[in-house]
């Protein structure tokens, strides 16, 4: 067993760079997160759909191998923007479920234990604290959204050749931008809610509630006012409209993409404002 000095001594050794310190929060939060077997299993389950898509893409390209079954040898489906839109829609739902489990546990324990003072009395700003905590969600959600999306794209590109890849490079932008829009929106929402509701389970339930109630209210407003503007409070709908635009989908859109962008940015700004109001070293008692 190591023997430690029992006298006080200062520290004069080297220090890490300032910009990298928010990653300390990421490391400790992630370590804490994956202590839960349930979450680890859930994360693995979220990778089942991408795996099926991968098998689908492979099988689709090798349909000639199934001619002995009397099937036609052409591809069963077209791997294009719509395919990746469907993939992202499916994975985004799973990402939301993951967020409902992970998000509330990131900030609420710090708030309920008064630990923010200890974080913020160190050379760490409020923004860096939020970044550190959000990076956990961002990285976990990346594993189930854009990373498998890009894997699928490049597998398809390797099977279909250079021409397909150069002709569909815009899909890469769609996967990246579409995924990050969703990741940032739900991460901000989850963190803002967990900052206000210190009980983890309640914060998780509220997260689900906000999304579904938002959709419900949006429908109600649309029906009562005979308009489509109600969708401006439905985050999932707004994101879907933006995705349709990003993946060049020709389906009907409830709102113009510009309005959807505006609605989503306003939503993100509101979440960020609410979050920063709570992330303080001291609470003002007026």
């Amino acid at each position: 067993m190591a023997v430690y000095k029992r006298t006080y001594r200062g520290y004069s050794g080297g220090l890490t760079t300032h910009w990298s310190r928010f990653l300390v929060l990421y490391r400790y939060s992630r370590r804490n997160l994956f202590k839960s077997k349930f979450l680890t299993s859930l994360l693995n389950l979220c990778l089942v759909f991408p795996l099926l898509c991968l098998l689908g893409i492979y099988a689709n390209d090798h349909m000639s191998a199934f001619t002995f079954l009397g099937q036609h040898s052409g591809p069963l489906f077209k791997v294009d923007g719509r395919f990746f839109l469907l993939f992202l829609s499916g994975q985004s739902s799973l990402a939301f479920i993951l967020t409902a489990f992970i998000g509330p546990g990131l900030i609420s324990p710090d708030l309920s234990n008064g630990a923010l003072t200890l974080y913020l009395c160190r050379p760490l700003s409020r923004i860096e604290y939020v970044l550190g905590k959000m990076s956990v969600l961002a990285i976990v959600l990346s594993w189930v959204t854009w990373i498998p999306g890009l894997v699928l794209f490049f597998v398809q590109a390797s099977l279909s050749g250079w021409d397909w890849m150069t002709g569909n490079l815009w899909i890469v932008a769609g996967i990246l931008l579409g995924s990050w829009i969703w990741i940032l929106s739900i991460a901000l929402l989850a963190m803002a809610l967990s900052a206000y509701v210190k009980w983890r389970i309640a914060a998780g339930a509220l997260l689900l509630g906000v999304l579904f109630l938002g959709a419900g209210f949006a429908q109600a407003i649309n029906r009562v006012l005979q308009t489509q503007q109600g969708y401006l409070i439905d985050v999932s709908k707004l994101t879907n409209i933006i995705w349709q635009d990003l993946f060049h989908d020709s389906g009907e859109r409830a709102l113009p993409a510009g309005e959807a962008w505006f609605g989503l940015l306003a939503f993100a700004a509101l979440c960020f404002y609410l979050l920063m109001k709570k992330i303080r070293a001291n609470e003002v008692v007026r």
């Binding site: 190591a2 430690y4 000095k5 029992r6 006298t7 006080y8 001594r9 200062g10 520290y11 004069s12 050794g13 080297g14 220090l15 890490t16 300032h18 310190r21 300390v24 929060l25 400790y28 804490n32 324990p109 710090d110 234990n113 008064g114 630990a115 003072t117 200890l118 974080y119 913020l120 009395c121 160190r122 050379p123 760490l124 700003s125 303080r280 070293a281 001291n282 003002v284 007026r286």
Partner: protein, 309 residues
């Protein structure tokens, strides 16, 4: 000598309420006590120095860094032990302290080593692998102290460090503060409403009342001055004795019943008084040194309504 804390007409408002009003002062001591009744603005002053509250007017600097513009540099140099419960219940003490050290910029391995050291130093060595949520109040206070010193700060700010501690735990805390003071590697600001804590550990005392500094006192100087102020009760011819001690350079003020108050000159020791008394054949029936306790200083300061340094 660079001041540890320098305040120039500092005012801080929380909402519409002005909590700190036009505070000016420069403090250089190794241990500075912040005293004041509840609501005097002690914790707000600390929060302002750490950059938690914006400065409304005036300026403040810590170890030469301006709090409004260089709060990150200040926080890198400061260790802070807050008054309230601040910890993460699901973490073991060693993980928690290590994380705090890493957030202060220590490399991971060094942070782990220092976390062990800090926990042993404060007396939590045997309990360092226990979760913080299972700690008693006294242990939590010690864990808060450990996180404040783990990165070797130049200035340690302790906000009510003995709050809720039983007498042995309080003694341990005071002993640790004294040890750190005597190690000479850091300055300490101790904020408390317990006069004894401040008296036992601090060299300088700043007394706040209603957001203003109403008294500043260098306790070391006060103690030294107290030692120069002597009250005597004599038996014999006092006049000759008085003339003799005055010729040595003492100031005197005779009182009733052969009592005499003396302020000793710079080079006069008590032994000189004994010698003169023997020469003049005067008996010293009683000799008292003035003891202006911190409590007296504090009570006097509380009588002021508008003080400045």
């Amino acid at each position: 000598m660079q001041p540890v804390i320098e305040l120039k007409a500092l005012s801080v408002k929380l909402g519409k309420h002005e909590v700190l009003r036009d505070i000016t002062g420069s403090f250089t001591g190794r241990t500075i006590g912040l005293l004041g009744p509840n609501g005097a603005g002690k914790s707000t002053l600390i929060s302002t120095l750490l950059g938690f509250w914006p400065v409304n007017s005036g300026s403040a600097s810590v170890l030469g860094h301006d709090v409004a513009r260089e709060s990150k540099q200040i926080r890198a140099l400061v260790g802070y032990m807050p008054e309230n419960d601040s910890f993460i219940s699901g973490m073991t003490a060693v993980t928690f302290i290590r994380m705090m050290a890493e957030l202060s910029g220590l490399p991971s391995e060094m942070a782990l080593e220092r976390a062990h050291e800090a926990l042993f130093y404060v007396g939590l060595g045997e309990a360092r692998y226990r979760k913080l949520g299972t700690y008693s109040l006294g242990m939590k206070q010690l864990a808060k102290l450990a996180q404040a010193i783990v990165h070797g700060p130049k200035l340690l700010i302790l906000d009510e460090p003995t709050n809720g501690l039983d007498p042995p735990a309080r003694q341990r805390m005071i002993r640790l503060v004294r040890e750190m003071r005597d190690a000479g590697e850091m300055h300490i600001v101790l904020c408390s409403h317990l006069l004894r804590d401040v008296e036992e550990t601090c060299e300088e005392v700043v007394i706040l009342k209603q957001g203003r500094v109403v008294h500043y006192s260098n306790l070391e100087n006060e103690r030294r001055l107290n030692r120069r102020f002597v009250e005597l009760e004599l038996h014999g011819d006092a006049n000759e004795f008085v003339a003799a001690v005055e010729s040595l350079g003492c100031e005197s003020a005779p009182g009733a019943l052969n009592r005499l108050k003396l302020v000793l000159g710079d080079k006069i020791e008590v032994s000189d008084i004994y010698r003169v008394a023997a020469e003049k054949n005067v008996q010293l029936r009683r000799m008292n040194f003035r003891r202006d306790t911190l409590e007296e200083i504090f009570l006097k300061a509380m009588e002021h309504t508008n003080g400045s340094l």
